[in-house]
Amino acid sequence: MTQMTFARAINAGLRKSLENDPKVVLLGEDIGTLGGVFRVTDGLQKDFGTHRVVDTPLAESAIVGTAVGLAYRGYRPVVEIQFDGFVYPAFDQIVSQVAKIHYRTRGAVKMPITIRIPFGGGIGSPEHHSESPEAYFTHTSGLRVVTVADPQDAYTVIQQAISCDDPVLYFEPKRRYHDKGEVDEALDPAAAEPMGRARVLATGTDVTLVAYGPLVKTALDAASAAADEGISIEVIDLRSLAPVDYDTVVASVRRTGHLVITHEAGQSGGLGAEVAASITERCFYYLEAPPVRVTGFDIPYPYSKLEMHHLPGLDRILDGVDRALGRPNSLSGLEG
């Protein structure tokens, strides 16, 4: 066990993958000499060389598009998109090419590409640096979309993503990069919890609270705060956003009868809507109240002075829990 930051844990996972498989190559802007703007790839170019850790020209479509070519050639490219808001120039390559080539070629061509995207807000950045674009990708079949919530998971899942034969979008909650945690570097990723599975991080009996990425910590904090008021919250870290591990959520909701889902992305067309609908279909007779979503607003990500209003915080999540449980809340007395 070693104490390390989130960013360091991903770095260690990338290092392991580079060591274990000569076909793994890293591509991205500023990932070499600088070690990435968040230092996630720090030292890797020095140790593995410029052919394995490639500083690319400033062109996202080219970064992902050439990764496709490398994958055709048998490589396992790991691509870094510098910030969430800069993935859009590569959108076409991701949704029209990366996602579809396995299907298009009837399985003849594998696309084992990992696309790392630091995402989410809370760090006081300017425009385009705090977005949560995951729903654009979960809507595209053929992509696996995952995110992680603690250093150990970050370390394991990055290796699982790289060894997965499908394309994986690996969303890194950037406001947690400096959080520390225990990491067991000896843990074999193949033997660990598969990246497709949700985890129950806190057990509870009153309400199921589903979160992922940056909000998992907030959800856990909300659960402890609620416990002080005698409310028992079960916290699920979704981990895989596509495909979603519904079985784990269903099992929980069947016990609690209440569901709250939280994410930073805007509400409309977001993953919360998908989870709410799917759980309603599968658990209608178990639910004692409609599922509640606590999300960002349907607005462009706001300037930093106001971002804390847009981001679901502990209090807003608890207010959502009160709504799900029919306790007094900010909307009490309002009809639907």
Binding site: T33, L34, G35, D55, E60, Y303
Partner: protein, 389 residues
């Protein structure tokens, strides 16, 4: 260095005599680093009207924007700004081009062109509004004919080209000018902008400031040839100019503007300069950049250069220096005051301007959030940084 681009790009062939293309790819230079005015057979013509008084005012502008830049960097260090992208070293490129523009020309820039914004008359408080995190944009583009700064690398070059298509349709003689960096030339958008600009022969100037670095990546990673030479492949004539020579930059910009106004289509300018500071206040250039390189470029400092020129001409009096310093101090003070006294935005402001007309769906989210804030009694204090953890 021998690519002769004369005759490249459709209609430019017939006008090649009037419009220098920088035959050979040596840098166009009118003032040497030691401040000597060297004559140039083609470009002298374009700055022949610049009086001593105007030279002094270029010196003042450059000094003022350096002071603005230093002040903003200090404001960031003091926690008053979230981030700042310094333009240190690029003063000549920004002032030389910015002062060449007409007020009805329209600028589409990146985040680093604060000197150009100053030339356009952007209010000093507006200059820092975005970097303080108080707003998504600092000014109304139509009041200064300059779009708000672009963060997505290269996106603005397409906007400029489209604006120029509009100018062409309207039969006007104004010009769209777009600023971007050396790194940006790798993006698809910039290349597509050049395709459109050349296809439609629209009045747009591509002003590329080659400051040698795209965060940690040297310009040689973006291009195997000189950036100016790329334009030829699109059929766009180009100029390669000493970006630390304010007169040369002004001359080149005037050449490009004049060509555009006369229906000659787009021009690509590569202003060769150097980013002497970090990429932004969040960057640490010592991780990737050799200190000697910085020293070499410091010797070519654009402000020292024009000061040396003025000195040779006997214009750099103590009086002038004092006057320029006072102006720079006053401007910096005004910006600081504007920045530190800027009121914080109201929480519900986040719902403003999502659409041009209200809609019940978003109104409902706003109403619910207002109720949520009210449930704490004290709306302003309800949501702390804590709450957003």
């Amino acid at each position: 260095m021998s690519t002769d681009q004369t005759g490249q790009g459709g209609s430019t062939a017939s006008t090649s005599a009037r419009y220098p293309h920088g035959q050979g790819r040596d840098l166009v230079q009118l003032v040497t680093p030691s401040g000597e005015r060297v004559s140039h057979p083609e470009f002298d013509y374009w700055v022949r009207d610049i009086t001593d008084e105007q030279l002094c005012s270029l010196y003042e502008d450059m000094t003022v924007i350096r002071r603005i830049d230093v002040e903003a960097t200090a404001l960031q260090r003091q926690g008053e700004l979230g981030l700042w992208p310094p333009l240190l070293g690029q003063e000549a490129a920004q002032i030389g081009s910015g002062r060449a523009l007409r007020s009805d020309d329209f600028v589409f820039s990146s985040y680093r062109e604060n000197g150009v914004a100053y030339c356009r008359g952007v209010d000093l408080t507006d200059l820092v509004r975005v970097w303080r995190g108080n707003a998504s944009s600092g000014w109304d583009p139509y009041t200064v004919n300059m779009a708000t700064p672009q963060i997505i690398i290269g996106a603005q070059t397409l906007h400029a080209t489209g604006y120029a298509m509009g100018i062409q349709n309207d039969g006007a003689d104004s010009v769209a000018v777009t600023y971007f960096g050396d790194g940006a030339t790798s993006e698809g958008d910039v290349n597509e902008a050049m395709v459109f600009a050349a296809s439609f022969q629209v009045p747009v100037v591509f002003f590329c400031t080659n400051n040698h670095w795209a965060i940690s990546e040297p310009v040689r990673l973006q291009s195997h040839i000189q950036l100016a030479d790329r334009a030829a492949g699109f059929g766009i004539p180009s100029l390669r100019v000493d970006g630390n020579d304010v007169l040369a930059v002004m001359a080149a910009t005037r050449v490009a503007l004049d060509r555009a106004r006369r229906g000659g289509g787009p021009t690509f300018i590569e202003a060769v300069s150097y980013r002497m500071g970090p990429h932004t206040t969040a960057d640490d250039p010592t991780r990737y950049r050799d200190a000697n390189e910085l020293e070499d470029w410091a010797a070519k400092d654009p402000i020292s250069r024009i000061a040396a020129l003025l000195d040779r001409k006997g214009l750099l009096t103590e009086e002038l220096q004092q006057q320029v310093k006072d102006k720079a101090d006053a401007v910096a003070h005004e910006m600081r005051t504007g920045c530190t006294t800027m009121p914080d935005p109201e929480p519900l402001d986040v719902f403003k301007h999502v659409y041009s007309t209200p809609n019940s769906w978003l109104d409902r989210q706003q109403d619910h959030y207002a109720r949520y804030l009210a449930s704490f009694g004290d709306p302003a204090g309800a949501v702390s940084e804590e709450g957003a953890r």
